[in-house]
């Protein structure tokens, strides 16, 4: 032991090592920010290898397949349960018919279909189009059928608001938007609610979309009313489906 103390580095040497100080400072920064810089840098560098649209499409396709399978199972269940309850069957035996004449803006709102009694169409049969219910068959000839549209002032159809579980009577006004007359005073419906046929209906196919509530008049007497925008495009429909009522008998 020569009794000499280790030499304290001079200030000049400390200053010469500035890159190391900077590196240390950066590490402290990473620590304090919980690695934000590193993860951001990693995200930037690895972006080309992220899961692309192909993977997204695979997942969407798988989801669609699962939904379709589930829908088919539910429909099968629904048919079985409705059969047990002796309610109307689904649209399995619907008759597809062309629209050969259309009057949606005159004194009467009606369609003429190119299929009639010979093909099994009968008065009172519901008529569906892309989007939902269009109306009911009013009269038939051997080869044609006349349909009273939901917009005709003479049309009165019982419908159902699923969200609030309220029944109502849909009455045509001669315009594109029929009015839904409720039976109860306290309806709780609001614009945007979907109107459909009743799930327990024996005259119409169950749960068929009719339209969407556009506005509600709570002050109407004796019960509230709502204006309904029909979901089926009456002016543009070229082919319809007639659901024979005896299918549910």
């Amino acid at each position: 032991m020569n009794g000499r103390l280790p030499r304290v580095p001079t200030l000049q040497k400390l200053l010469q090592a500035w890159p190391w100080w900077l590196f240390l400072l950066a590490l402290v920064g990473v620590r304090l920010s919980k690695g934000a810089f590193l993860t951001d840098a990693y995200a930037l560098l690895s972006r080309p290898f992220w899961p692309g649209t192909a993977q997204g499409e695979w997942i969407q396709a798988a989801t669609r397949l699962a939904d379709q399978t589930r829908l088919a199972q539910l429909e099968q269940d629904n048919r079985r349960l409705r059969g047990l309850l002796d309610l109307q069957r689904g649209r399995g035996d619907a008759i597809t018919a062309p629209v050969i004449s259309r009057e949606t803006g005159g004194w009467w709102q009606q369609l003429e279909l190119g299929k009639g009694q010979l093909q099994g169409v009968a008065a009172g049969d519901p008529v569906l189009g892309p989007g939902g219910l269009l109306g009911l068959v009013q009269s038939v000839t051997p080869s044609t059928a006349r349909v009273r549209l939901l917009t005709d002032p003479g049309s009165h159809v019982g419908v159902w608001v699923g969200r609030t579980q309220r029944h109502g009577l849909l009455i045509g006004q001669g315009t594109a938007r029929p009015v839904l007359h409720f039976l109860d005073k306290d309806t709780g419906v609001r614009p945007g609610d979907v109107v459909s046929t009743s799930p327990a209906s024996t005259l119409l196919p169950a749960n068929v979309t009719v339209g969407v509530i556009q506005s509600v008049n709570d002050q109407a007497v004796p019960a509230p009313e709502a204006v309904v925008q029909l979901s089926a495009p009456l002016d543009a429909v070229d082919w319809v489906q007639v659901v024979p009522r005896r299918a549910g008998a």
């Binding site: 803006g105 009606q110 009273r148 005709d152 003479g154 315009t175």
Partner: protein, 172 residues
Amino acid sequence: MARLYSQLWCGATGLAVPLLTLASPGLLTVAGVGPSWAVLWLLPWALVDGPRSGAVAGLALGMALDGLQLGGASQIPALALLGWWWGRLGRNGPPVERSFSLGLLAALGSLLLGASLLLQLGLPGSGGWSGEVVLLSGLHTLLAQGLITALLAPLVCSLQLLFWRQQVSLRN
């Protein structure tokens, strides 16, 4: 004097009315409402062939058109009355030839026909239309149909008038 109704093929042209009503060409509409084809056919026919033939033609057209509609109201009374009125105009007054006169008569005819339908549909127990529907939809249809019928009349009725008069003069 030769009469149009004695020529079968002339009367057969009336079949065009129900066919055009069924076809309801989308181009010939005002606010979605087409013209009254019955008025456009009946006006020149009655002007040339007289009140009795006009009334009978109106009756026949009304029966055909009533069979094509949903029901609740009939076009027969108004069309028969119009046929008789226009027939008297053609026989008693100066010849109706000018476009404005034809347009005016067609507009009046369409309005009268529409008013008779509106009256019947608004009656309780008939069409069952509420007052609101009569005001909203009925008046709209009435005015739009009157307008498009009046606009088409100078073109369609003038040609028909010429043709029917030619047929009558040829037979004489």
